[in-house]
Symmetry: C2
Subunit: 542 residues, 2 copies
């Protein structure tokens, strides 16, 4: 027997309709790419999004077609998402930090028909245009006055293009499970894979994000997403801000410390969200200039692990509560967030930061478990490692065009590829990537923990740990270190330093001192190359 409630599909246009109706004059404030600060209310964002939607229809775009955006956080980029999804098409966000060849690869894989972009990226696209055969038109997020001369195919300024659109357009009433957004994972191995969000997944993820333990968004919030819209749905903010009537402050192209600080203060921002790198730049600026925050209360840090010193500085020096978050493109993206539970409410100082350094707990709509290799759950004791797996309405069930095949385990969970602990309070901490963890006699050793300990040695500049073959234990850890300039290290010296600071059986079987460790394009240690380099290495006494 079915309930007798209304059929009200969870469609993205409902969000901007709600904002336009309930929060019509609440502002979206942007640092425009052209320079000046720009202000617009949600009512007008919706009107322009309707124009955009109808204009896409005029250009022959059909429901399900992909429309790419390669752009900074501005009101125009925001409008385009509502316009694209509002006529049934799919926004495909492209990260401009990718190598040009990668951009071409994913635009072709996605089959993007229109590409919307900022002035910033016109030269990049002009150089790349020959490799983008599927793009029928380039829409530049600017007006005619700022439009550069360009030979990009059917190039037009966004303003003149939507001027030909219709404000009385009616949103497409698609299935709530229809595709709405596409974002490719960078993927350390193999080709990027596309995660295809639905209207439903975006709406549910955003509703969860509004709750007090996540972003805590209400009509009185002012939020500045430093996290770009191209970084996995801007962690929901492009949806959750209008959903809740929060004022939205868009930083445009300038993410340096001084520019972000200026906006945080001038717009009296209360909540912000971004990756550790931008917070490092912000903190450096503030320390150098002797600044304080006058309105900021909460900063969400995700994308990669927040260094403990950063958390401490925000909280102890600047009085801003840090919410350490974790997620993945495959999770829309937020999987956990570090609000403090009442059982931990009395913690202070180091004990509190021990908890804040963990990646938080799963909100409603995210199921989380840590499993052994056979899919059996491991205990939540804060010590035992397991493969981190997740399930939920905003978690990927597969990749675009079936790449990667079935990605769910027998229980319907998605294996994140991370190794993590979960403590008795549900706080998760990433300890390693699954492919990097060292499996020694059936037990797991965290390469990251060993690396963190090794770099604490005064003579060590950088450290990497890989597992190497061992006839008895299958794998044992090999520590590879780069000494600080002008310093020398010996294996014995470092092992003596590590002894007593970790379990005895975790101690690396050997230490190799090298001049350099290979890195990936994004600055991470390239363990693939490192394993390659040590392919013929054999542990002593084996």
């Amino acid at each position: 027997m079915l309930g007798l409630m209304q059929n009200w599909p969870l469609l993205i246009h409902k969000i901007i309709d709600h904002a336009a109706s309930q929060h019509p004059d609440r502002e979206v404030v942007s640092r425009s790419v052209e320079g000046p600060i720009h202000r617009i209310g949600y009512r007008d964002v919706r009107r322009r999004a309707l124009r955009c939607a109808s204009r896409l229809v005029k250009d022959g775009i059909k429901p399900g077609d992909r429309v790419a955006t390669l752009a900074w956080n501005t009101w125009r980029h925001l409008e385009s998402w509502y316009g694209i999804t509002g006529m049934g098409a799919v926004y495909h966000t492209i990260n401009p930090r990718l190598f040009p060849d990668q951009i071409a690869w994913i635009a072709n894989h996605a089959g993007d028909r229109i590409l919307m972009t900022d002035l910033t990226f016109v030269p990049l696209l002009e150089a790349l245009a020959d490799k983008l055969p599927t793009i029928e038109r380039y829409v530049i997020f600017t007006d005619d006055a700022h439009m550069p001369p360009t030979k990009l195919k059917n190039a037009v300024s966004y303003e003149s293009w939507i001027a030909e659109g219709d404000e009385d357009f009616r949103w497409a009433e698609v299935d709530e499970n229809a595709a709405a957004g596409l974002c490719y994972t960078s993927g350390t191995t193999g080709n990027p894979k596309g995660v295809l969000y639905s209207h439903r997944s975006n709406v549910l993820h955003s509703m969860a994000m509004c709750s007090p333990d996540c972003l805590g968004l209400g009509a009185r919030t002012t939020i500045l997403p430093v996290v770009p819209l191209f970084h996995a749905n801007s962690w929901s903010i492009a949806f959750s801000a209008p959903m809740s009537g929060a004022k939205l402050v868009m930083p445009g192209a300038r993410l340096d410390g001084a520019s972000v600080y200026e906006l945080l203060e001038s717009e009296q921002v209360t909540v912000t969200a971004g990756v550790p790198t931008v917070w490092m730049m912000l903190l450096q600026h503030m320390e150098k200039e002797g600044r304080r925050f006058s309105s900021l209360k909460r900063a969400v840090v995700g994308g990669s692990a927040a260094p403990r010193a950063m958390i401490e500085t925000f909280e102890s020096v600047y009085g801003v509560e840090i919410f350490h978050a974790w997620g993945m493109t495959e999770m829309s993206p937020v999987g956990s967030i570090g609000s403090i539970k009442p059982a931990l409410g009395d913690l202070k100082g180091a004990a509190l930061f021990d908890v804040k350094q963990k990646q938080g707990f799963a909100p409603f709509t995210v199921e989380m478990r840590i499993d052994d290799d056979e899919g059996n759950p491991k205990p939540w004791d804060g010590k035992t490692f397991g493969r981190l797996k997740v399930k939920g309405p905003a978690v990927a069930a597969g990749y675009f065009k079936g790449e990667g095949g079935n990605i769910l385990d027998a229980n319907g969970f998605f294996d994140t590829g991370d190794i993590a602990t979960i403590d008795e309070h549900g706080f998760m901490q990433i300890t390693d990537r699954a492919k990097d963890v060292i499996k020694s006699g059936g037990e797991w050793i965290s390469s990251i923990d060993l690396e963190n300990l090794a770099v604490a040695h005064p003579d060590v500049a950088e450290a990497a740990v890989i597992g190497v073959f061992h006839p008895k234990w299958d794998e044992r850890p090999l520590l590879i270190v780069v000494p600080k300039e002008g310093r020398e290290c010996t294996a014995k010296d470092i092992l003596t330093f590590m002894e007593g600071r970790i379990a005895k059986w975790w101690l690396p079987d050997d230490v190799q001192v090298v001049k350099e460790i290979p890195h990936t394009a994004t600055g991470k240690i390239n363990k693939l190359k490192l394993r390659e380099a040590f392919k013929i290495y054999r542990l002593p006494n084996t």
Copy 2:
């Protein structure tokens, strides 16, 4: 093209699974009907709900069957909802304040197979049992030690009954649109009508309620629902509290001022919700005893309009923020809630209370409009009246067994039967019931506004306004007043008092002084009877 996200249906059991996993030791504290305070964590609530679910299966209950609860707010009542919905059946909450014949009528209409109840209601049910032929078993929310001798069919204590249940039961994986709950509207005319909630509607409504501008529930919240579970889903709290990990304080059978105050203080409650009557009792107790709140921050007032003096006392005297809410059984039930928007953030004193007296604005998932009789939208100016209509995933599309036929208008909106204004900030204010509003020459006059003004006259004890036939204007207002004891009123006297305080064309065409005005069972003015009494009345000069 569909998105590639996981199929994760919005089922009620996901809520208690989440609470048990992420907030296992977070407490549900109840004042038991037997007397003592009782404590249990969400992990154990889930375990016992699983037993309850499996025990229902053993009793032959099938998905879609109705299981009635006639009970106070306690942990056992809470568990039963998760148990009932967790095996696919439908909880049917019965309001014990209904007349016994009404209880029998709705239990029969619902076809309830099992009835779960408190010790309090055993005598009532024994007197009524002959009229409840569909009930196969009575489960009394107590243990064997407190079980009274009773001849109720197959009566058993809840504790001994679930002891035969299975903690390893697997929740039923039903369609998210499957029926989950049933609640009858009291209905001033005709028979009660059943609103049939789905899993999806309850989950979405509860997610919306967690947001900062609604209940604002997080893991650090402690919430006390004075509003009963039988009052339209306890305004979501039975779901939204475990969903967010909030501590849940259940007041049991004692809703008097002293008992509620004691729990608010002893459990350090931060958020509470209930109808104006209980807050009046609480405030009277506090004033008499000279008490203060040490933890309470937010009180949600709904069910009927909150008197302005109550709002002012809570805020000005006790420092508790009042969230004035409005809803209907047909809306799961919350339709609007009065958080203060930033545009009003600077208001103080009388101007602030003018806003707080309105019923607030619609959260995401509720669409709201005010229409004329032809379904055309009226302006949001805070002055123009319209028929209040709503739409959303937690709004009824029809009543149980098709009673009342089609209840949606051509735009798919549900007509609430209320007349309201909405101001430029989206704040809605109920001005009248549609059937009571006076339609004078195409314009509407609020009977409630006229009544409120009339009782402000020093000699008037009670006032009622009805529309009566007028040859030119179709309808004109007739004011009927009861003088205060020992006072006298004349029509001229009262009309002189009203002049200048309202628009001239609103002024009643006549005033009739009577000894008594008829009331309904719930104490409201019975306008049906009043219209009957004045059926042959003719206005002067017509």
